[in-house]
Amino acid sequence: MTTRVRQLVFFLGALGLAALVVSAFVRLPHFGSGFSIDGAQLGALSVPQRHITDVVTAINFDYRGVDTMGEEFIFFAAVAAVGLVLRPQPDEVVRAEVDAASGRWVPPTSDAVRVLGLALVGPTILFGLYIVAHGHLTPGGGFQGGVVLATGVLLVYLAGEYEHLHGLYPEQAIKVGESVGAAGYVAIGLVGLIWGTAFLDNIGPLGTIGRLNSAGLVPLIDVAVGVEVAAGFVLLLTAFLRQAIVLRVREGEQ
């Protein structure tokens, strides 16, 4: 279809879609009522039943833990797929990192960036570990903490050069880390199946509310997810950076 025709056809379709959707939205419970059977019960039950103060984590890793397992594997599959799509092809070659636009002088990384980047790596990683560990107490958890941990790695790249990143974080070791995190979640689930009543049964000691070692197996799951997400994001970052910086199609085959 030509552009004009397509826009017209879409416009008509969008009118219909908008009517369909808005007519449903105005029949929703009005904004602010927040009615829900499940939500009300879970809000009330999460602390007495599981000693978890962050109800969202309780839902994600305990009541509906199998959903989060699936979500973790969606992330796993996406990282694997990105790695597949961006891996060096037979007709590509790894070159030294040279700016592709010739004739342009690239200034070296400024000292301010270098110092600040290196100084922030430690606190960022510590913060990430804090968020992973306290997922069942305060907002946070494996996913959020894992992303912060990966940011710490990105800071290394920003403060230095690509080869530093490559040297400090060998890709195979990170792949193993990601796999351990992913398999760990399923393994914890199987532990529940074997020694408890069901898959992902939270059979750990529940401990005291508000302490770090409470909520049974949930902190363990948080750690597994944190490791997997951090490793996965590092793999994502290195795949994209490698594409942009060092991979070039062999001369004469473009």
Binding site: M1, V9, F10, L12, G13, A14, G16, L17, A19, L20, V21, S23, A24, R27, L28, F35, S36, I37, D38, G39, L42, L45, D62, Y63, R64, G65, V66, D67, M69, G70, F73, I74, F76, A77, A80, A81, V82, L84, V85, L86, Q89, D91, Q172, K175, V176, E178, S179, V180, A182, A183, A187, G189, L190, G192, L193, G196, T197, A198, F199, D201
Partner: protein, 572 residues
């Protein structure tokens, strides 16, 4: 039995993680063997679940969170025979795809890991009893397949196909999520049985209608029903043949299964007064897909794309079974999904063998295509005939002639398209000269799949079992009572009588085969005598064959709006 339920999902997931982590150090052959073993064990587990769910639902409440007073806080697997059979189909197709792929160089440990996650997602998709869990497995399957389509990243056509597929399917997935949000707002629950109970006690309104439309559209995009079909031709046409096997053998049918499952467990109570009008709307969509797909297949020249359009047409036929909103039709859909899925996978395996980089064997592939065309046309003993017969018996007497015509015409035209391909390959000059004993893996897979389809059409009791399984799926009240452990008073088990099909499928099948062969031979004769296909014939089809992402999303929007209008009117 309940403890077995999570295993066919947990095992491939761990296998995927192991393959990713150890893939660098383990020889590729070992990794491939491992994948085959895992797929086989999942197939066995799912078959066990099929047997175990014969008399009652197999229930597994994750985390040990059992429902109380009709409220389910946790996520469950609620396995009936229909779901277990779907999971078995998925495992079968994955096993077939992996074995077909063994001879190629491009399949390494990471690709195998993605195949394992696809398998886990497909099985979980069929077994779950929770709508958000269904969505999560749906997305896992989607993301894994996006990656597999693009596995040969130096081939731009494949990347384009993957991009098309990813954009269309993502928009569809988020339509599903919107529908889930609306239903959650209305019912306060995410468990299918609980949602069905909550909806049934109320009157239907536009919110329910929109939720039904959005969720249906999302899954119909996955099933590549017209007008949401654009991505399949691109993806199946350019991806490696084993990935195309996954797409057409399994992914399409699972999309339709989701529509059936969600309709019957959540919406059937509240939409019962409007069932006739709703049936009509869905039948129009299904019939349109079947006929348009067949015409596109007949018109298309490139082999893989032609097979993709054949698949789209047959998805339309499967949707006819679902659209009838009746146990016979649903039973027909079940039988047809397995039989047709296996047949289409066999066809793509043959396509793999025909232009295999190392051992091309177009003549052998042509033979397989010929047998496959017989199955597509619905010739007994292939189980496709059984499926079509059951679907036909699900129609009321007034719509039966039209339904029969659509079924027969689409099957004949698609069979003709495939026979035409077979004739072309039979006369192909290139043939593997060397190493006569290697590179036959794909033929073994095709042969095995087609043998299964034929055998299944002959085994006694398949029709009865299918109708019983469909009775179970369509009985909303009994399902809800079993899942939520509430008393089952007033939920009479339906006992739909199994229709006797007689000699009609044989006659129809023979007629289809004869006409299809005639059409294919006639066209080949005209082409070889130098007649060009007229430009007038091909021009209108270019709209339906567009490869632009913008076009696909435009038609997605228009299709949603039209379906929304149709269902809204049906509910008046």
């Amino acid at each position: 039995m309940s403890s077995l339920a999570p295993l066919p999902v947990a095992i491939p997931l761990i296998a995927a993680a192991v393959l990713m982590g150890l893939g660098h150090w383990v020889p590729v052959r070992l990794a491939r063997l491992f994948a085959v073993v895992v797929s086989l064990s999942v197939l066995v587990l799912c078959a066990v679940l099929v047997v175990g769910s014969r008399h009652s639902l197999v229930l597994h409440w994750f985390g040990g969170w059992r429902p109380e007073a009709g409220v389910a806080l946790g996520v469950s697997f609620a396995i009936d025979q229909f779901g277990a059979a779907g999971a078995t189909l998925a495992a079968l197709i994955v096993l077939a795809a992996v074995v077909t792929w063994l001879g190629s160089d491009e399949l390494d440990a990471v690709g195998l890991a993605l195949v394992m996650t696809t398998l886990a997602a497909a099985v979980g998709f069929c077994l779950t009893g929770d709508i958000f869990n269904l969505f999560v497995f749906f997305e896992l399957m989607s993301v894994s397949v996006f990656g597999l389509v693009a596995i040969d990243a130096s081939h731009v056509g494949a990347i384009r196909g993957a991009l098309q597929m990813a954009v269309s399917n993502s928009v569809g997935a988020f339509f599903v999520l919107m529908g889930i949000a609306l239903l959650y707002a209305r019912t306060g629950a995410l468990n299918l049985a609980q949602m069905g109970n909550a909806l049934t006690s109320r009157r239907s309104d536009q919110l329910v209608v929109t939720a039904l439309v959005l969720i249906a559209v999302g899954f119909l995009v996955k099933a590549a029903v017209v007008p949401f079909h654009f991505w399949l031709a691109d993806a199946a046409g350019t991806a490696p043949a084993p990935v195309a096997m996954l797409l057409v053998g399994m992914v399409d049918s699972l999309g339709l299964y989701a529509v059936a499952r969600i309709y019957w467990t959540v919406f059937s109570g509240i939409s019962a007064p409007h069932i006739h009008a709703l049936r009509l709307v869905l039948l129009v969509v299904a019939g349109g897909t079947a006929l348009l797909g067949a015409a596109l297949a007949w018109e298309e020249a490139r082999p893989r794309r032609r097979l993709a359009y054949v698949s789209i047409s047959h998805t339309g036929l499967m949707l006819l079974g679902v659209a009838l909103l009746d146990p016979n039709g649903l039973a027909g859909f079940g039988v047809y999904a397995v039989a047709d899925g296996a047949t289409k996978a066999a066809l793509f395996a043959a396509a793999h063998g025909a232009d295999h980089p190392k051992h091309p064997r177009p003549r052998a592939a042509a033979l397989v295509l010929g047998v496959g065309a017989l199955a597509l046309a619905g010739l007994p003993p292939f189980a496709t005939a059984l499926g079509k017969g059951l679907i036909e018996h699900g129609a009321s007497t007034s719509t039966r002639p039209v339904l029969l015509a659509v079924l027969w015409f689409s099957s004949t035209l698609t069979a003709a398209a495939v026979i035409g391909m077979a004739l072309e390959w039979w006369n192909h000059p290139m043939e593997a000269a060397q190493s006569q004993s290697r590179g036959w893996g794909w033929a073994a897979v095709s042969g095995a799949l087609l043998a299964v389809v034929a055998a299944w059409g002959v085994v006694p009791g398949v029709a009865r079992a299918a109708v019983r399984a469909a009775d179970g799926l369509t009985n909303r009240a009994a399902y809800a009572a079993a899942v939520l452990a509430t008393p089952a008073a007033g939920t009479r088990p339906r006992q739909t009588p199994t229709p006797g099909l007689g000699v009609e499928p044989l006659l129809l099948g023979l007629a289809a085969v004869l006409v299809a062969t005639g059409l294919a031979v006639e066209r080949r004769r005209r082409v070889s005598h130098g007649h060009e296909p007229s430009a007038v014939m091909t021009q209108p089809w270019t709209i339906l064959k567009s490869r632009s992402i913008g076009d696909a999303v435009t038609w997605l929007t228009v299709g949603t709006a039209l379906l929304g209008a149709g269902v809204t009117l049906a509910f008046r």
